[in-house]
């Protein structure tokens, strides 16, 4: 509740208004920061923010050349005080082969990265100046906030996971399987799951929003599985040139978000769907 009131009150804390403020609302920028806080930032990053100063965010349209019928738009967002660059996409295009339209209600994060090379000229960007202390207070207040999929989405997840657990990519399984679904991000279309029995992280991702029919048309395409017993290294330098690994730091963060913040489900492959009361409490 506190977090929500902080978020809703955020608009009042803005010091300067960009020309096209309606394109990226201030509440939206707070959600982006919350996503970065949970999935990207570490202890070395936020320490750089002067809590008595201004948190400036620059953004501009970066829509590339698209397919003829593609109405999507892209934006680049720069946050100099934490040296982060975020790329956003608001998808809007048809997939005639499947008879669906890929859409996003708002811009979704398609990439977030810390950058060393910073553009010297930011004149092509719109600028939003936020109160840094208010943002830090907001991030602190929502650090444990968990937004879980609704019942319909959970049901679809159960079906998808049951199918995945017994699919050709999975090891043989017997009996009930424990999985943890990480909290949803309102600005990302990635859904992370930790399959405890197999020690695997599973990422469902798509260009379209998770709660749309279109997402489930792609559910089998957008799955990436990381076997934590074989796919983790401290540094990519250990296997230079290989694209098979993830770093331990990254895996640890994903595990934290799934196990500590996640929603626990018990799935028994081959059995009809049933949701025992209380089972989904974290």
């Amino acid at each position: 509740m506190i977090a929500r009131s902080l978020l809703l009150g955020f608009t009042a804390l803005v010091l300067a208004t960009p020309v096209r403020a309606e394109t990226l609302g201030f509440d939206y920028l707070a959600l982006v920061m919350q996503h970065l806080y949970r999935w990207h930032l570490d202890e070395t990053v936020l320490i750089q923010v002067d809590p008595t100063g201004t948190l400036t965010i620059h953004h501009r349209d970066t829509t590339p050349e698209l397919d003829d019928t593609d109405r999507s738009s892209y934006r680049e967002l720069l946050i100099p005080s934490i040296r982060y660059r975020v790329l956003l996409k608001k998808a809007d295009y048809d997939v005639p082969e499947l008879g669906i339209t890929i859409t996003n209600k708002e811009y979704r994060i398609i990439k977030a990265e810390r950058v060393d090379d910073w553009p010297g000229d930011l004149s092509g960007f719109e600028q939003v100046d936020l109160d840094a202390k208010a943002m830090m207070d907001y991030l602190f207040s929502v650090r444990n906030q968990r937004t879980y999929p609704d019942e319909a989405l959970i049901e679809r997840m159960r079906r998808a996971l049951r199918e995945h657990l017994t699919g050709p990519s999975s090891p043989p399984v017997q009996g009930p399987q424990t999985v943890y679904i990480a909290p949803l991000s309102r600005v990302s279309n990635n859904l992370w799951v930790y399959w405890e029995n197999a020690g695997r992280l599973i990422r469902y991702s798509s260009d379209t929003d998770l709660d749309t029919e279109a997402f489930w048309a792609y559910e089998k395409l957008g799955v990436r599985v990381y076997d934590l017993s074989t796919d983790v290294v401290i540094s990519f330098a250990e296997a230079a040139g290989s694209n098979a690994f993830v770093t331990r730091d990254w895996a640890a963060r994903a595990l934290f978000n799934c196990v500590v913040f996640g929603q626990r489900l018990i799935i028994t492959p081959g059995e009809p769907v049933a949701v025992p009361a209380g089972e989904t409490t974290p």
């Binding site: 698209l66 082969e97 798509s206 089998k220 230079a240 290989s242 098979a244 690994f245």
Partner: protein
């Protein structure tokens, strides 16, 4: 009406399967290369998809990486340093290191045959299925492009134009030019060693992948 004539049934089955198969047979070298090209790029609706042109360009640059690791090793590097093997067969370049080798999910099985993990074949089967629905569109064209690229390369040594050939600087350091590696386009993914990230302005980001060239003077 049920099909009772076995030869007619076989003919129909063959027709159906060729309509579905827009990629060469994966047991052939061209088919295996084409499957790798498809596996590494996004199709419409998938994370990282930008446009048909972008995905097609990514496939072309992926092929260049394979070709450079096979035949265009810049001085003073050795093939072993860049490709983690010494080989004169593109299939060895792809499968080196086994299932968790240089190209995740592509390896040689116990009999030494090029193989793919099930998730690769599952995805490509799905892409083929989607491509076969309705009028041929982006999915079909991209699958065909992968097959054409691999076939032309293996049959006639035809290489598409190389967007990375002229790269002379990357990560503010002199570079050899040409792509020698790729990874998912996120900063946390870097191949390490002497690889340098090719910048966006040099078409370093294509099809959800980041391409890497080499430091001109190895460390």
């Amino acid at each position: 009406m049920p099909i009772t004539h076995p030869r007619l049934f076989m003919l129909l089955a063959f027709t159906a399967s060729t309509a579905l198969a827009r990629l060469p047979d994966p047991t052939t070298p061209a088919g295996y290369v084409a499957h790798l090209l498809v596996n590494e790029v996004p199709f419409p609706g998938e994370r990282g998809y930008r446009s048909e042109q972008d995905t097609a360009a990514a496939m072309e640059q992926l092929l260049h990486v394979l070709d450079r690791r096979l035949e265009r090793i810049p001085t003073p590097y050795t093939q072993q340093q860049i490709a983690a093997t010494r080989a004169n067969d593109i299939l060895d370049i792809i499968t080196v290191g086994g299932e968790k080798g240089q190209f995740d999910g592509f390896y040689r099985d116990a009999q030494g045959r090029p193989a793919m993990v099930p998730r690769v074949t599952e995805r490509i089967d799905n892409l083929n299925r989607i491509a076969s629905q309705g009028k041929p569109g982006t999915f079909a064209r991209l699958l065909t492009h992968a097959g054409d690229l691999a076939t032309a390369y293996l049959a006639e040594q035809q290489r598409p134009s190389d967007r990375h050939a002229a790269v002379s600087k990357a990560e503010r350091q002199p570079a050899t030019g040409g792509g020698y590696s790729w990874m998912t386009d996120e900063v946390r993914y870097h191949p390490g060693g002497n690889f340098l990230r090719i910048e966006d302005t040099d078409a370093g980001s294509l099809g959800g992948n980041r391409f890497f060239t080499l430091r001109k003077a190895p460390r």
